[in-house]
């Protein structure tokens, strides 16, 4: 059942659940952050409306820097602004930032330990028709391996807004992963959010001991909850964690879930290698090894298609999550 303390959207299992792009929450959150703190500035590489930074640009044009199609310079310009006391947010598509400008992020932001916030829009395979060149499925790996970096992958538009506001208040370099497509809104304004904290969104009715733990991040949290709900009807006892912060990892929550359930399935719209599942595996391998299955992209590039077509083709559909659950349960026994 849905954890009532999470105050999730009561219409979560309805077919007509409202959907909005996760990136929209970033734009709204950035405007709120800018209202609250005049040190907040925005930089964009010729994708201002697409990445939703136009809200900040329209209200605070003097705090907006258009850098043109120059992602490498953009992040270093932001680093310079941070050195002078600003809290810069930079946006582009995740494929170009942190994709193209990775070394500049490493050296001028993280090595310098400056509070630049990197919002990578259009992340994941669900960008769809644009094709494989524009589908960033390596960005979590790229960012989480850099010291000092915080990595957040919000599950919906509301969580993206909260994450954006929250990260403006920390001194850490931060990567926020955003999806382009409309995504079901599963949280509400009242749902808890804290950087570095995993949220238990689903647990067995009657509070029984879970026999399987699903850890999901980003837009696929919705599918993970749906699958858990269906499998519960078949008698499976499942807990689902929404792991919106990939780094620092909520090791305590991950370890406890593995200890209770004895089997873990991770679900993410990202390469399996180096992604959220890998972060979970690193944690469990040293603390409490249990059988794991990874739902994600299996060392492949994407291609054009509708988001659902692609998620199914590349093994991240609801069917794949169910199969992973069944497989890991067999391995457990």
């Amino acid at each position: 059942m849905i954890n009532p303390e999470q105050k999730l959207n009561p219409k979560i299992f309805d077919n007509d659940i409202e959907q909005l792009p996760i990136r929209k929450g970033f734009g709204e959150g950035l405007l709120i952050a800018a209202d609250k703190d005049k040190r907040v500035v925005g930089l964009c590489a010729d994708l201002t409306e697409s990445t939703q930074m136009h809200l900040l640009r329209n209200k605070y044009p003097e705090r907006f820097i258009q850098v043109g199609i120059a992602e490498q310079s953009m992040v270093s310009v932001a680093s310079g602004m941070a050195a002078m006391g600003k809290i810069p947010f930079i946006t582009s598509y995740a494929m170009f930032s942190p994709g193209r400008n990775w070394e500049q992020i490493r050296t001028t932001v993280c090595y310098n330990d400056r509070p630049v916030k990197i919002a990578g829009s259009h992340a994941g395979i669900s960008v769809g028709p644009d094709g494989g060149t524009h589908q960033a499925i390596e960005d979590l790996a790229l960012t989480r391996i850099i010291p000092n970096m915080v990595v957040i992958s919000p599950c919906d538009v509301i969580e993206a807004k909260k994450a954006t506001i929250a990260c403006a208040e920390t001194k850490f370099p931060t990567y926020i992963r955003l999806a382009r497509e409309k995504t079901p809104i599963i949280t509400t304004e009242n749902s808890p959010f804290e950087i570095g904290k995993a949220q238990l969104v689903f647990y067995p009715t009657k509070n029984e001991r879970a026999e399987i733990g699903i850890i999901a991040t980003g837009a696929l949290v919705y599918k993970a909850i749906k699958v858990a709900n269906e499998l519960e009807k078949e008698g499976k006892k499942i807990k689902v964690l929404n792991l919106s912060t990939i780094k620092p990892l909520d090791e305590d929550a991950v370890w406890r879930l593995a200890h209770e359930a004895g089997a873990i399935v991770t679900v993410e719209e990202h390469q399996i290698a180096g992604g959220m599942g890998s972060a979970v595996a690193e944690c469990l391998a040293k603390n409490y090894p249990v059988p794991m299955e990874f739902v994600g992209v299996k060392d492949k590039f994407g291609q054009s298609g509708t988001p659902d077509e692609l998620l199914e083709y590349y093994g991240m559909g609801e069917k794949d999550i169910k199969e992973a659950v069944k497989k890991v349960l067999l391995r457990k026994k």
Partner: protein, 296 residues
């Protein structure tokens, strides 16, 4: 404080002396470290001396003084000259220079401000410094409009201009008409693989910057009066960023090493090389033995 008076004959002489003391420190650091870059640091010793001992507004006793000018070293590999100049200016003791490139040292092989907070930035991977300088200037403009009292100075190599990111930043600075940004390019014509015009031709280097709407000056990078004239002019330009292309001699001060790209990335190591370097600098430093050198 930033000096507003022109260089006097007397001050020029002091800078000349200081630059040679810094060159001697650089050579001793490199000999001790057994690795590091020789050509760039020796070639830029005069520019660094001019900036730290005449041009810039800064306070070695209070490195984080809010109103200081900002110096961003983009070509981090020439950091021996930065470290030596900072030590001579009083940021830390001269004795620390011998720890260059050693474990736990403030003086990392390429600059890292976590180890030496007085640095404005960490650098090494080429081509990122100018973007940061542009960002600093833009942040200043948000806070102070055109009235910022801080000068943002960025030092780059010439070979470094091969990096495309520089041209992104050069374009941005031109677009924004940033007035308190000055770039000093070390035009020594060498890079690791050879002469710049063989590896990747940069000429017409001045025209390139001009085409991006910069105020361009070309000077002898070893002539303090020329540097002072260019800096003074750069300060007076209010509608665009300035670049001062400094023609320098790689490994300046050691005739046997001068102008040779082979000395880009290595220190003197053999007893013969060490002897040549020490003798050459000693001769200049002591005016041919007429005065006492700092390292004697």
């Amino acid at each position: 404080m930033r000096s507003t008076t022109p260089l006097t004959e007397e001050k020029t002489k002091i800078l000349f002396e200081k630059a040679h003391a810094i060159r001697q420190s650089i050579i001793e650091m490199l000999i001790e470290a057994k690795s590091g870059h020789t050509a760039g640091p020796l070639g830029m010793a005069d520019v660094f001396t001019y900036l730290y001992f005449h041009a810039l507004k800064h306070d070695p006793k209070k490195f984080d003084w809010e109103y200081r000018d900002r110096l961003i070293l983009s070509n981090g590999h020439i950091c021996p000259v930065l470290y030596a100049t900072m030590a001579h200016a009083g940021y830390f003791s001269l004795s620390e220079l011998k720890t260059l490139r050693k474990f736990g040292s403030k003086l990392q092989g390429h600059p890292h401000r976590e180890f030496l907070p007085a640095l404005e930035t960490s650098s090494g991977p080429l081509g990122s410094g100018l973007s940061q300088a542009v960002g600093m200037a833009l942040a200043e403009r948000i806070d102070f409009g055109q009235t910022s009292g801080k000068q943002i100075v960025c030092l780059t190599g010439d070979g470094e201009l091969d990096e495309g990111q520089n041209w992104e930043a050069i374009m941005q600075a031109g677009k924004e008409k940033i007035q308190n940004l000055t770039v000093f390019v070390d035009r020594n014509n060498i890079q690791i693989d050879g002469f710049t015009e063989d590896v990747m031709p940069l000429n017409p280097i001045a025209d390139k910057w001009r085409a991006f709407n910069w105020h361009v000056q070309e000077v002898d990078g070893h002539n303090f009066r020329a540097l002072d004239g260019a800096w003074t002019q750069a300060l007076s330009v209010f509608d665009r960023p300035s670049v001062i292309i400094c023609y320098t001699i790689a490994s300046k001060g050691i005739p046997e090493f001068e102008r040779q790209y082979q000395w880009h990335g290595k220190p003197p190591t053999s007893p013969e090389e060490i002897d040549i370097a020490r003798k050459a600098l000693h001769i200049v430093r002591t005016m041919g033995g007429k005065i006492r050198g700092e390292h004697e």
